[in-house]
């Protein structure tokens, strides 16, 4: 069984609702050596148990695509058309299917160039009427328009996140209208009975940049309650900052916000026991290996909001303009702890937060 998505069928379109309880309906991929088909199952107990639909599969499209790669159904209600939409990764891109009842699906269209775990949702731009966002598993997205049956790409692709993150999916229908994503962190945990981990939930927004609208993401505001500011400094040299951070080198969990400014060279960064949390190169314009050109292209500054957990590090650059994640992997022979590097850099801001466990 491969990944998919779940919806609440408030209007009983599928007929699974019982005693006024709206069914939670999961769309998922059943994988076999021969093919991948799409199935549904429903739950009347808030997702604790699921009953598979007897008419499964609801889509068997191997023949149409001459490919085994048909998977990861993302289903949502398309209000303007009063129907369900499924975005399905098929062979070389994302297909759109529509349905009135979640059981009978009609193929509508296809966009090439994506792979696995489709997403499609509308986002305002700076709070105004916005654009549709389509992405796949990799963290690259297109902007475009959607009429309920066809997604028409208009801009992109662009990257918004990189590193360990893969196959992020969003929640639909959040009461406050936010678009919140959780990504899978491809981070290994030796001896653990699970594969990877879920990364921090982040809120997605479209904001106008010097290059046009771009997708930003930052941790959801609910994460704030886990962190307490314990130290804050301004205008430090890297040597001062490195010394002040000594006491936090071995913390289990931590959040660090910092802005630093380059002046005597075009590269600088921030390490933890030799691991490059930030590796900023203003000559080649890369952050940790991915091309990045800041909004103010001559600022020489970079800011980062860094979440360090026992096995993971997540970094949000310049207010979420770019983000990336990595396994926490101190170099065994390194004794530096936290360490700003770079010729004559100024650490303009540095703030350390303690972290509470979410399990408390």
């Amino acid at each position: 069984m491969f990944s998919g998505s779940a919806v609440i069928d408030y209007d009983n379109t599928a007929g699974f609702n019982t005693d006024g309880v709206p069914a939670m309906i999961a769309a998922y991929t059943a994988d076999s050596p021969e093919k991948q088909v799409q199935c549904i199952a429903y739950s009347l107990d808030n997702g604790r148990t699921f009953i598979k639909y007897k008419g499964n599969p609801v889509i068997d499209s191997k023949h149409s695509w001459n490919s085994k790669d048909t998977r990861d159904p993302k289903v949502f209600w398309y209000k303007p058309g009063n129907h369900w939409v499924m975005v399905l990764n098929e062979r070389d891109g994302h297909s759109i299917y529509t349905s009135a009842n979640l059981k009978d699906w009609k193929y509508e269209s296809h966009v090439t160039g994506f792979w696995e775990c489709p997403e499609l949702f509308e986002l305002p731009i700076d709070g105004n009427p916005g654009s549709e966002v389509m992405y796949g598993a990799s963290g690259t997205y297109m902007l475009g328009s959607f009429d309920g049956k066809v997604f028409t790409p208009e801009a992109g692709k662009y990257p918004y996140t990189a590193g360990s993150i893969y196959a992020a999916q969003t929640f639909t229908n959040m009461l406050d209208g936010r678009r919140v994503q959780i990504g899978w962190g491809r981070i290994s945990h030796a001896g653990m009975p699970f594969n990877g981990m879920m990364l921090l939930p982040t809120e997605l927004t479209l904001r106008t940049t010097k290059e046009g609208p771009r997708l930003f993401n930052v941790p959801v505001k609910e994460t704030e309650q886990l962190f307490s500011s314990v130290r804050q400094w301004e205008n430090l040299t890297s040597d001062q900052a490195n010394e002040l951070l000594d006491e936090f080198d071995r913390a289990d969990g931590l959040r660090i916000k910092t802005t630093f400014k380059l002046s005597h060279a075009t590269s600088a960064g921030f390490n933890l026991f030799g691991q490059r949390i930030i590796d900023y190169d203003l000559n080649f314009n890369t952050v940790n290996g991915t091309f990045y050109s800041p909004a103010d292209r001559t600022s020489m500054e970079i800011s980062a909001d860094i979440y360090i957990d026992r096995t993971s590090i997540e970094v949000f650059i310049d207010g979420g303009a770019f983000s990336y994640s990595m396994e926490r992997k101190p170099h065994a022979d390194n004794q530096e702890g936290f360490h700003f590097w770079g010729n004559n850099i100024e650490v303009k801001n540095l703030e350390v937060f303690s972290a509470q466990s979410i399990w408390k």
Copy 2:
């Protein structure tokens, strides 16, 4: 002595011309353990011998910048202002100096965010009045305006080339108005008495893309005379293409043009004895590790013009929208020769050219 540039002083502004022979004047950096200063020297025999100016250095700016990094003067004549311009890398960016005589220089302005080997030139956009291009050594550039004293960044930075290439410089004043660049290839040659190599001269142009004006580069048209088309095929499977290329696997020099189309996956490529000449990933949208989103974002196609020399490989993607270079480095244990890889790809075009030596 570090790199710089040379101009012809047709109007004898520096007073070095003799017997009607206009001096070729080189601006260069003299490096010492303490500082880097800018000097000039002139030649009256077409650059065969140079005489250093007695008033050197013409710029000694270590004190202004509190940095030893002041180097690589790029000098050109700014016709609208009737004066010389020097773009000089100083500490954390490119400074503009002006002069009437190449000896006395006035500091005018500075743009941060560049490193080494400045360039600044005007280019038309699609043949129409255009934009100023500023770049450093790395292959990332800004577009902007220039009034003879101040460069004002308006867009960028963007990458246009990557890989072994570094410190490319252009020729000014070409009779036909072209902007031609030669880059330094950071490619080692064991046992040779030189460091790296010069890459192919390329013509730079600004062209409108889906994202706005972008810098393209392709080998200058004069290189065409070195290559003769010897084989051409269309609509091959990768297996067919691989077999047809067998006879060329061990060629000393070669040019290959190809376009291939993906359909059953989002990654594919083209190897030579295991070395990835093209590694195209449409899920993460990278070509050989650098982010690249094609003009037609759903085409699933990529085209490449590939120049293979004894020690180097240069690749021009999609008509020069992106280019990169690498050392030719066959994997010792690989027997594949030329090898297209990728699930069900179609090799739409494949053309092989023999290469003549430029020394014949």
